[in-house]
Every structure is written in structure tokens, then in C-alpha cells.
């Protein structure tokens, strides 16, 4: 009962609102940063996933579709691939699909129908190890020299670089937020110490111990951080919704719909408590330091 009674006013002074506001902003920023990071991670995983373990092989034979030699080369390559241990499945891309892919270049006219087209083979690997890709590549090359093998990684690597950069910014933001939170609490606690100098004097004179006074400040900081942190999350929810709505309205499908793992939400929900923890410890240390300079 006595432990819960506060000798410091929690409301009504400026520094307490200051902490509540700043923690709100900080938790808000942290949650946005976390989500950005998680989204980028998920996006990379998604892209990787849709690309990893697939190859496209282009057999450089400019032969007529009905030409048996062309068919023979294709058959041979398919045979080699399908017997390869690292390959799950290899299929020739149907001529119609290749025609489709070339339409931007040749139009849809009958001209294409008679055109000798390259043969494309889609390969799904059973593994994504680079060594397996090399092995497959080698055996295709020896069967059909000059075959072009595309593991789709060139463009992906560029995008991954960009996304990882954004992720780094998000992580940096998180680190800055943590530091800012600590500084805020130190600074607000010092301000409170000044603001409550007389209250502290009186508590001292009536025999309160440093731990007791520090505890009062720490509890205040805890409550303020929890309130501020909760408010930050409350602010975060509609913001996320708004951004998702904007994104969906602008370009449906350009960004895949990603559902975050439960752990993400757990971490988000833990943010106010994390802020509370940081606040409690910081306030305690700050007050004890300041008090130890007194008589």
C-alpha cells in the first residue's frame, strides 16, 4: 500500500507529459521501423523464394519447330536434366509461350508463326546451393554447347541490395530510437529532479532513502513510458492501415501481400514494455547519481 503511494505528482508537471509524448513518438517510430524491416525481410524472402531453385535454359538452336534435329537437341537436354540429381523437374516452354514473350518484338502477326525460335527450358532444382547450379550448368553445356543459363539472380541482387539498404536504415532508426529514449529519460528525469528539488529535500529531511526516492522516479518513468508507448502503438495501427490502403489503391499487386509472422506482432506489443524497462532503469540510475552528490 505504501509502496504504491506516490510522493511525486504523476500528472500536471511538464516533464511527465514530455516523457509521455516523446515515448509515444519514439515507440511509433520504432514500430514503423520494425515493420519496415520485417516487411523488407519478408519481401526478400518472397522474391528469393519465387526465384531460388529455378533456372531458365536457352538452347541456341535456330531451327524450325518441326525440324527433328532441334527436337533431338531439346530432348537430349531435357533427358540430361531430368536425370540430374539436383533437378526436380525440367520442362520445355511451349512454343506458344515463347511466341507470347516475343510479341513485343515481332507483333502478333502470322510472321512469328513461321519464325525459327530459340528453345527455352524451365528447370526447377531440388536445392538452391550454388554448387548444384554449377553442376547442372556444366552438364547442360556439355550436351548443348552455347546454351545460355539464367538463374534470375542478376536483377534480384540489385533489388536485394536496395532493399537491404532500406532495412539498414530501419535498423539504424531503431538504434537511434533506443538511444533517444535513454537520453529523453535521463534528461526528463534531471528536469524532474530540478522541478521537484523541494519535494526531494523534504523527503530527505523526513528520512527517505535514496532508493525510495529513485524508486518514485523510476515508477513515474515506468508509468509514463507505458502510457506513451501504448499511445504510440495506438497511433501506429491506423498509420499502418493507411499506408497499406494507399499502397493497394495505387498499384495492386506491385508489392506482394505479405502477412507478418506472429513474432512480429509480439515484438511490437512488447515495445511499450521495453520502453518501460529502459525508462525504469535509466530513471533509477539517473536519480541515484544525482542524489549521491547531496549530503
Amino acid at each position: 500500500m505504501i509502496a504504491l503511494r506516490s510522493e511525486l505528482p504523476l500528472k500536471g508537471d511538464t516533464s511527465s507529459r514530455f516523457v509521455v509524448w516523446l515515448v509515444m513518438v519514439l515507440v511509433f517510430m520504432a514500430s514503423i521501423a520494425l515493420t519496415t524491416n520485417a516487411y523488407i525481410g519478408a519481401l526478400l524472402f518472397h522474391w528469393n523464394q519465387s526465384v531460388t531453385g529455378t533456372l531458365t535454359i536457352q538452347i541456341p538452336v535456330m531451327l524450325d519447330a518441326k525440324d527433328p534435329a532441334s527436337t533431338a537437341t531439346t530432348e537430349r537436354v531435357l533427358d540430361v536434366l531430368n536425370r540430374h540429381p539436383a533437378v526436380e523437374r525440367a520442362t520445355a516452354v511451349p512454343r506458344e509461350k515463347v511466341t507470347e514473350l516475343l510479341k513485343p518484338w515481332f507483333g502478333a502477326g502470322e510472321a512469328v508463326a513461321d519464325l525459327p525460335l530459340p528453345v527455352l527450358v524451365d528447370v526447377r532444382l531440388s536445392t538452391s546451393e550454388p554448387s548444384a547450379i554449377n553442376a547442372v550448368s556444366n552438364s547442360v553445356q556439355s550436351t548443348a554447347p552455347g546454351a545460355v543459363i539464367d538463374d534470375h539472380r542478376a536483377w534480384l541482387n540489385r533489388v536485394i541490395g536496395l532493399a537491404e539498404g532500406l532495412g539498414a536504415i530501419a535498423i539504424t532508426a531503431m538504434a537511434l530510437v533506443t538511444i533517444a529514449l535513454g537520453l529523453t529519460i535521463v534528461f526528463a528525469t534531471r528536469a524532474s529532479l530540478a522541478e521537484f528539488a523541494q519535494v526531494i529535500d523534504v523527503l530527505h529531511v523526513v528520512g527517505a532513502k535514496d532508493g525510495y526516492i529513485a524508486g518514485q522516479f523510476a515508477r513515474r518513468a515506468l508509468v509514463q513510458s507505458l502510457i506513451g508507448g501504448g499511445a504510440g502503438l495506438l497511433l501506429y495501427a491506423p498509420t499502418l492501415g493507411f499506408i497499406a490502403w494507399l499502397a493497394s489503391r495505387i498499384e495492386p499487386g506491385i508489392l506482394p501481400d505479405i502477412s507478418f509472422p506472429a513474432s512480429h506482432w509480439v515484438v511490437l506489443a512488447a515495445l511499450p514494455f521495453l520502453a518501460g524497462l529502459i525508462a525504469t532503469i535509466t530513471a533509477n540510475v539517473t536519480v541515484r547519481r544525482a542524489l549521491s552528490a547531496k549530503v
Binding site: M1, I2, E7, V199, H204, V205, V206, G207, D210, S292
Partner: protein, 239 residues
């Protein structure tokens, strides 16, 4: 509240100053070479012109400042260089009335008075009983739930006195405790101090009120130009 007095078996001087000097920052010495022994259960007035250092001298005794020179003992303990962690226990045996009251604005009158008991973790039932009784004595039972800011100057001063004595301290240090009340109330408050004194508490009252000093037959410590002089009780006064 026996637990608050369990060290009452100690014998000797309540306060002892040996060649004490005090200066603020790099200013001049407020006073120097002050030596003084306040025996148990004594009652002293502390007088002297404004700015002589009465409040400063008391602040040494309630451990808000350390002497810049000399030695200070409280309840037989040398506290001149005592570790900070030892001080709260000593402070709980003191009761202080500040010249400017220093009531906590965010608390009711009741909670202000209850503060020393709650810090000492006295049971809430005892707190209730003792604080109510004391507030009645100082004539403020109607104002228990009022904030200090809505009280008159004299009412605030009485709250400050109640807070200083509620935990039955061994030593009461009161700085101009009757400057804002009329003579009737002043006499009643003095009676409170005298009662506690008779129960074994030592009392030091800093005051400008010559009338008060001459009315009670207690010895006087006079601080002037940095020197402390002990003076005998006024003659013909009541005790």
C-alpha cells in the same frame, strides 16, 4: 510507535558542535568556531538578527549541509563525514519546521502531515489516528483534505509544525514557527513543543519574537556576527 524510539536508551548530548564553521560556495564564512552541546530533553531558543545564520545553523543539524569546518555529532554519532546511507536513519529521529514551510503542494494537509510516518512505514491505522489527533490539536481538523495553497499563511505554518512533530522525534528544529500566527495560537503551538520537551524531546526554536523568548523560561543561544553566545533564561517567565 515504540519502534521509532527504540534507540531512546542512549545517553549523552543530542547535538554536539565542535569548532564548526560554514560557508556557502566561495562566499565568506557565515559563522566560525561555533561550539555547542545540546543535552537530551533540553529546550533552547536560537536568536539573532536577520541573516545572522540561524537557518544555516539549523540546516547543519538536520543534515541538509555539512559543516565546512569542525565536527558535528547527533545523538552521540559523529556525522561530520558519515556515509550518506547512514543519514536517513538519523534524520527519522528529527523533526524540522522550515521557515518557508515547504509543504508538498500536490498533497492534502493530511498527507503532508502523514509523510514522516509513511516514510517510516508506520501502519496506516496508526497514521490515521495520530495525524487526525494532531490536526485537531493545531485547530485544522476541517482542513484535513485541503491542499496547502488554499490555506492561509497561519494554517500552512501549523501544518508544517504538525508534520515536524507527528513522528515524536528526539530532536525538534523549528525555524520561526510562529511568525504567521497570532499570540493565542502561538502560545498553543509553544505548548505543543513544551509537552514534547517534557516527554524527553530536545527542542531548538529559531525566532525573532522577543515577546515569545521573554515569556518562556528557556535558555537562549544568540547568533550574531558569526559568533554564538549562550544566554540564560529570561527571568520571571513561565516554564
Amino acid at each position: 510507535m515504540a519502534q521509532l524510539r527504540k534507540k531512546s536508551d542512549f545517553v549523552g548530548d543530542t547535538v554536539q558542535l565542535e569548532d564548526v564553521g560554514l560557508r556557502y560556495a566561495d562566499g565568506p564564512e557565515i559563522f566560525s568556531n561555533v561550539s555547542l552541546a545540546i543535552p537530551q530533553s533540553s529546550f533552547y531558543f536560537l536568536t539573532g538578527p536577520s541573516g545572522a545564520g540561524k537557518t544555516s545553523l539549523l540546516s547543519l543539524m538536520y543534515l541538509a549541509k555539512r559543516p565546512t569546518r569542525g565536527r558535528l555529532k547527533l545523538f552521540g554519532d559523529d556525522v561530520t563525514d558519515a556515509k550518506r546511507s547512514r543519514l536517513p536513519a538519523i534524520r527519522r529521529r528529527l523533526g524540522v519546521v522550515f521557515q518557508d514551510f515547504r509543504l508538498l503542494e500536490h498533497m492534502t494537509a493530511f498527507d503532508n502531515v502523514a509523510l514522516p510516518l509513511r516514510i517510516a512505514k508506520v501502519s496506516e491505522a496508526t497514521v490515521e489516528k495520530n495525524v487526525t489527533e494532531l490536526l485537531k490539536w493545531v485547530g485544522l481538523e476541517e482542513f484535513m483534505q485541503a491542499r496547502p495553497s488554499v490555506l492561509s499563511g497561519g494554517q500552512q505554518q501549523r501544518i508544517a509544525i504538525a508534520r515536524a512533530v507527528v513522528h515524536r522525534p528526539k530532536l525538534i528544529l523549528a525555524d520561526e514557527p510562529t511568525g504567521n500566527v497570532d499570540d493565542t495560537i502561538a502560545f498553543r503551538l509553544m505548548q505543543l513543543f513544551v509537552e514534547l520537551h517534557k516527554l524527553g524531546t530536545s527542542v531548538i526554536i529559531a525566532t525573532h519574537n522577543e515577546h515569545l523568548v521573554s515569556r518562556f523560561a528557556f535558555p537562549r543561544l544568540h547568533l550574531k556576527a558569526g559568533t554564538l553566545t549562550a544566554m540564560p533564561p529570561a527571568t520571571g517567565a513561565e516554564s
